[in-house]
C-alpha cells in the first residue's frame, strides 16, 4: 500500500544532469507528481552541483549517474564531505541498469533511485518518501 505523505512546505530542488532536456523533464515530472516546488536550480555535472550548493540552499537533489566531468557517484561521495549539504536527500536518476551502480550510490548516501525512462507516478513514488519530515 502506498504511504500518503503530506508535505508541509514547497521544496527547492537541485536537478543534476548533463542533458538540459532531461533536466526540464525531471522538473515537469516533479510538478506533475504533485510536488510543490518553491524553486529549481540546475547543474550539468557534479562539479557544477557542488558549486551551486555552495551558494544556494536546497531541500532535494535529483542526480543522474552517467555524466562527464564528475559523475553522480563521485558527486554523492563528495557531498558527504560538505557539512551544510550532506543531509539533503539525494535521489539518483539513471539509465544504468546495473545494480552495482545503484547499490554503490545508496551506500554512498543516496536515499533512492529512479530508472529512466520514468513516469510522473514513479517520480512521486520514489521522491515523496525521501521528503517525509
Amino acid at each position: 500500500m502506498q504511504k500518503e505523505v503530506v508535505l508541509m512546505k514547497p521544496v527547492k530542488a537541485l536537478i543534476v544532469d548533463d542533458s538540459s532536456v532531461m533536466r526540464k523533464i525531471v522538473e515537469r515530472s516533479l510538478r506533475q507528481a504533485g510536488i510543490e516546488l518553491s524553486g529549481v536550480v540546475e547543474a550539468a555535472n557534479g562539479v557544477e552541483a557542488l558549486a551551486v550548493l555552495g551558494r544556494t540552499k536546497v531541500d532535494l537533489i535529483l542526480s543522474d549517474i552517467n555524466m562527464p566531468v564528475m559523475d553522480g557517484l563521485e558527486f554523492v561521495r563528495q557531498l558527504q564531505g560538505v557539512k551544510e549539504a550532506k543531509n539533503i536527500p539525494v535521489v539518483m536518476i539513471t539509465t544504468e541498469g546495473s545494480e552495482s551502480n545503484v547499490m554503490q550510490a545508496l551506500s554512498l548516501g543516496a536515499k533512492g533511485y529512479i530508472r529512466k525512462p520514468f513516469t510522473p507516478d514513479q517520480v512521486k513514488e520514489y521522491v515523496l518518501p525521501v521528503l517525509e519530515p
Binding site: 523533464i25 515537469r28 544504468e96 541498469g97 545494480e99 525512462p117 520514468f118
Partner: protein, 162 residues
C-alpha cells in the same frame, strides 16, 4: 592497481536482441515522448540520415548503438518530450536525441541475460549531417531495426564486436 578478468562475453542472439531493441525503444517513446512506435512492416531503404545519436557499450558486449533519423524527426521527438512546438524545440533536438539513445541503450542493456551487470554505457554523442562514415570495430556484426515514429522512419542499429 588491481587487474580483474574481463567479464564473460554474452553470445549474440540476433533475433532476440532485435526484438529487445524494439521493445526498449517502444517503452522509452511511450513513457518519455508520449508516442507509440511501430515496427516497419517491410525493410525500409535507408535514407541518408541527418541525425545520428550514438552510445558506446563496453564489457560483456562491446560495440556502438545508434539511432538515425531525419532532422525533422529529431525536432519532433524533442518537441514531444518537452511539450513545445517543433520550432521551439529546434535547439533541443541534439540533446533530446542523445538522451533517447541513452535510454534505449540502457533499456536494451537491462534486458540482457545478466541484467546488464557487466556492460557499461558511454555518454551519448550526436552527429548531424550525412557526409561521414562510421567504422566502429573490426569483425563487427550489425543488428538493425526500423521503427516508425509518426510518419518518419527511425533506424536503430547495434554494431557489435564479435
Amino acid at each position: 592497481m588491481k587487474i580483474t578478468d574481463p567479464p564473460p562475453a554474452i553470445a549474440i542472439d540476433r533475433v532476440a536482441w532485435a526484438s529487445q531493441l524494439c521493445v526498449g525503444a517502444q517503452e522509452v517513446f511511450a513513457m518519455m515522448v508520449g508516442t507509440k512506435l511501430f515496427r516497419c512492416p517491410d525493410p525500409q531503404p535507408m535514407i541518408v540520415p541527418e541525425f545520428t545519436a550514438m552510445v558506446g557499450m563496453a564489457g560483456a558486449i562491446c560495440g556502438v548503438f545508434t539511432i538515425r533519423c531525419s532532422e525533422y524527426a529529431a525536432s519532433a521527438i524533442a518537441a514531444k518530450m518537452l511539450g513545445i512546438s517543433i520550432e521551439e524545440a529546434s535547439q533541443e533536438k541534439w540533446d533530446a536525441m542523445g538522451e533517447v539513445c541513452n535510454m534505449v541503450a540502457g533499456s536494451f542493456k537491462s534486458k540482457l541475460a545478466d541484467g546488464g551487470q557487466n556492460c557499461m554505457l558511454s555518454v551519448p554523442t550526436v552527429i548531424t549531417g550525412a557526409d561521414y562514415k562510421l567504422r566502429s570495430l573490426a569483425d563487427e556484426e550489425s543488428i538493425e531495426v526500423c521503427l516508425q515514429f509518426d510518419d518518419e522512419p527511425l533506424w536503430l542499429s547495434l554494431e557489435l564486436h564479435k
